[in-house]
Symmetry: C2
Subunit: 154 residues, 2 copies
């Protein structure tokens, strides 16, 4: 039993950007050129990207030096607005494929190639939260990531 069946029409390209912009709007945040740039860079990576990777990509795209600092600020907003997620075990960020709905994501991180996919299994994350509560803990954000080998590298 994998929680309620749950199919997203995964937004891509324009649609994904739209979804992100909307999510930001809902969070009361603006969608500026700089933020669009960072988002594009983020989506441009297949793997989770570090703030510095993104800073470099944005710098290239804009033909000027963009400091990691600014990128961090924007990534923080993205994370708050559910537009991106931080992959803790990789110190890196990844775009959220469906900013529209709130999930406790589960990331599968390939130690070989770095490729990272995510699955949504609300029954698992719910039981994680539950177990925490049973221990007298008030959960805010479960971090569920799996290191291992992806299908391509296996």
């Amino acid at each position: 039993m994998t929680g309620h069946a749950h199919t997203h029409a995964l937004p891509a390209g324009e649609a994904l950007t739209d979804a992100a912009r909307n999510a930001m709007a809902r969070a009361g945040e603006q969608w500026t050129a700089m933020r669009a740039s960072v988002f594009d860079a983020l989506v441009g990576f297949e793997k989770p990207a570090s703030a510095y990777d993104i800073a470099e990509a944005v710098s290239r795209a804009q033909g000027r030096r963009v400091a990691a600092n600014s990128v961090y600020r924007i990534l923080d907003l993205f994370v708050t607005a559910n537009v991106a997620t931080r992959v803790e075990s990789a110190n890196a960020y990844i775009a959220n494929a469906h900013p529209d709905c709130e999930h406790d994501c589960i990331f599968l991180v390939c130690d070989d190639c770095g490729a990272t996919t995510h699955i949504d299994d609300d029954s698992i994350t719910a039981s994680v939260r539950m177990a925490a509560r049973k221990a007298g803990f008030r959960p805010t954000k479960p971090v569920v990531e799996v290191r291992g080998t992806c299908a391509d590298c296996a």
Copy 2:
């Protein structure tokens, strides 16, 4: 249902150090004065400690400068030998309360005070591994941590 009931006589003090030393021996690693020092420092922290925190503590304890470098090396051994675990979402390390048995631990990290407890719920981590496999992924090490507020800070 919380997996098989599972009660450890949690080793503490001397007993814990013994357990750690044995675990290292099983991994074919030596138990040196330096390693004992690092382990003591690690156990001395209530919260997950960064390698630098530990380097400082060991430096104080030994009245000489110990470089983070050396601490990292030893921590890596500890992690491999199941004597310590890295808390990914905190970039820090914590001693394993029962080096004798292998678990996919679940950590509860308080965002307020930093105190971190761990629970072992094999049914949860098993289902995490299972979900990963169902996605064509070969799991090596699940990272399950929960950020939130502990009972004391609630």
